[in-house]
Amino acid sequence: MNNRKTGKPAEILLVEDNPGDVRLTQEAFKEGRVLNKLHVTRDGVEAMEFLRQKGNYAKVPRPDLILLDLNLPKKDGREVLAEIKTDKDLKRIPVVILTVSQAEEDVLKSYNLNANCYIIKPIDLEQFIRAVKLIEDFWLTIVTLPPNGKK
């Protein structure tokens, strides 16, 4: 069942290489209503290790929600998205693309790769915080997510 009702924090994985954006997202989540734990990986390779609980990430929980930037070092967001959505254990985790790219081809490609939604990072701070709060609200309280850990 939904984690929030059991009082356990929601596990969120943020894949973002820009420390400034990481910090802004953290600030936004601080203002949120939902008890959450934000994990951060700084590139695509690290993100896949986290999700597959490899290496340093052997003991991390499986996230309830993934916030994924598209332009990442080593392995970019599109590849990460493709890998998640073709992995039978990971494909049910909602992936929110959170990027500065307004390019139509990025929007199209992301949805073709089964991204759950695509959000262009608002420039304005207030709007950015609002967007993050809405993401949190929608994906962690309104929608019913698949039971964690079940196949």
């Binding site: 820009n18 400034g20 802004l24 500065v100 307004q102 390019a103 420039i123 304005d124 701070l125 207030e126």
Partner: protein, 404 residues
């Protein structure tokens, strides 16, 4: 006696040899004369066979003979020229200084000149480019100096070469343009990603700073923060507009039949807030169908109407839009009662980032009309403005009707 006899025999023999030699010599001479005659015929034959215009002149530059090609190429009536000085031909059209110099100065010294190029304006033929070759020859039978002059008309070849060169230059220009378009597209991509990222950081953290520390620092700090935020916002607007501008060509949709009145209606709908706030009155005549990129025509109307509302005069803005057909073009006009534009700026207003007003007076990045121009040009049309200061402006754009 015997001696006398021998001497007589020798004499007979000698005279016989002598006769034979004379006969032989005479024969040889006869052959030589024949050869000379033949050679003359031979030259005449060559003269008339060669496709290149040829002239034979005497030492006073009078025409002895000319071939058919000469008559044809230079439109000269045959038979009319023998004995005339070359320079006098065709009402002295052949009195060409450079030709005179060649024949009178260079040829006497060197017996031959090769591949001299001259250009000349002929009355009927127009400007021709010719290549001249000449040789001084000695006519054995007539015992006289002659000049064989070959005149090749290379005007067409020159023109073809020029056209070929122009075609090649055009091809290179197109390649360069394609490359620069690709660069621009690449730039657009960089602008949309890499430039916006740091900009977002500046504006976001400044705003965060303002949010947390507004009033806790001093008044100056608050003012500085405002300037940073405003600067970042403006940079953002510039980047976005530049992106739109650069994508008019590369990201445009394909052309199809559209209703320009519907596109106009869409532009009005998009401008609803500005129209209401500015109490603008926008009227229009029936507008024609077009073969165009619908979203770009909406953008075109929107930018032009937006400007008409923005640059209003003392009265609330009034805009009238109409279209008239002119040959195979629809000429649209948007007439407003705004502040107008001075004539010296009629062209400049369409240049990207050109602004005629300070930022305190009117907001904007100076890309609106540049985008309009690019859209109209993509559609094979033209945009221009007529205006009078304090009376209003009329923006015109002409687009192909799409019918042949």
């Amino acid at each position: 006696m015997e001696d006398k006899l021998k001497a007589k025999e020798r004499l007979v023999s000698e005279s016989g040899k002598m006769r034979q030699r004379v006969a032989e010599e005479t024969g040889r001479k006869r052959v030589r004369v024949k050869t000379i005659l033949k050679r003359e015929e031979y030259i005449e034959d060559i003269l008339h066979t060669v496709r290149e215009p040829l002239l034979v002149l005497d030492s006073k530059r009078r025409v002895i003979s000319a071939n058919r090609s000469f008559y044809q190429t230079f439109k000269i009536i045959p038979g009319d020229i023998k004995g005339k000085v070359l320079y006098d031909l065709g009402n002295r059209q052949w009195n060409i200084p450079k030709l005179r110099k060649l024949l009178e100065e260079i040829l006497p010294k060197s017996t031959v000149f090769l591949d001299f190029e001259i250009e000349h304006d002929f009355k009927e033929l127009g400007r021709r480019v010719m290549v001249l070759n000449a040789r001084r020859i000695f006519h054995e039978t007539k015992r006289m100096q002659m000049v064989l002059l070959a005149i090749e008309d290379i005007t067409d070849r020159k023109r073809a070469e020029k056209e070929l060169k122009q075609a090649e230059e055009l091809r290179q220009a197109i390649t360069a343009l394609e490359l620069s378009n690709r660069d621009l597209e690449q730039f657009a991509y960089v602008a949309s990603h890499d430039l916006q990222e740091p900009l977002r950081m500046v504006s976001s953290f400044t705003q965060l700073l303002a949010k947390r520390y507004q009033g806790k620092l001093d008044k100056d700090a608050d003012e500085f923060i405002d300037y940073i935020v405003a600067g970042a916002e403006r940079m953002q607007a510039l980047i976005n507009d530049l992106l739109t501008y650069s994508r008019v060509d590369t990201r445009g949709e394909s052309f199809g039949p559209i209703d320009s009145e519907a596109a106009f209606g869409q532009a009005i709908a998009n401008l609803r807030v500005a129209i209401e706030e500015g109490e603008a009155v926008i009227t229009h005549d029936p507008l024609p169908p077009l073969i165009a990129d619908n979203s770009q025509i909406v953008q075109l109307f929107q930018n032009l109407l937006g400007n008409a509302i923005k640059f209003h005069g003392k009265e609330p803005p009034r805009v009238h839009v109409s279209a008239r057909q002119e040959n195979n073009k629809w000429v649209f006009s948007l007439r407003d009662n705004g502040i107008g534009i001075a004539p010296e700026y009629f062209d400049r207003v369409f240049v990207i980032f050109q602004r005629l007003h300070g930022r305190e007076e009117y907001l904007g990045t100076g890309t609106g009309l540049a985008i309009c121009k690019r859209i109209v040009e993509r559609h094979g049309g033209r945009i221009w403005v007529e205006s009078e200061i304090n009376k209003g402006s009329t923006f015109y754009f002409a687009l192909p009707t799409g019918r042949r």
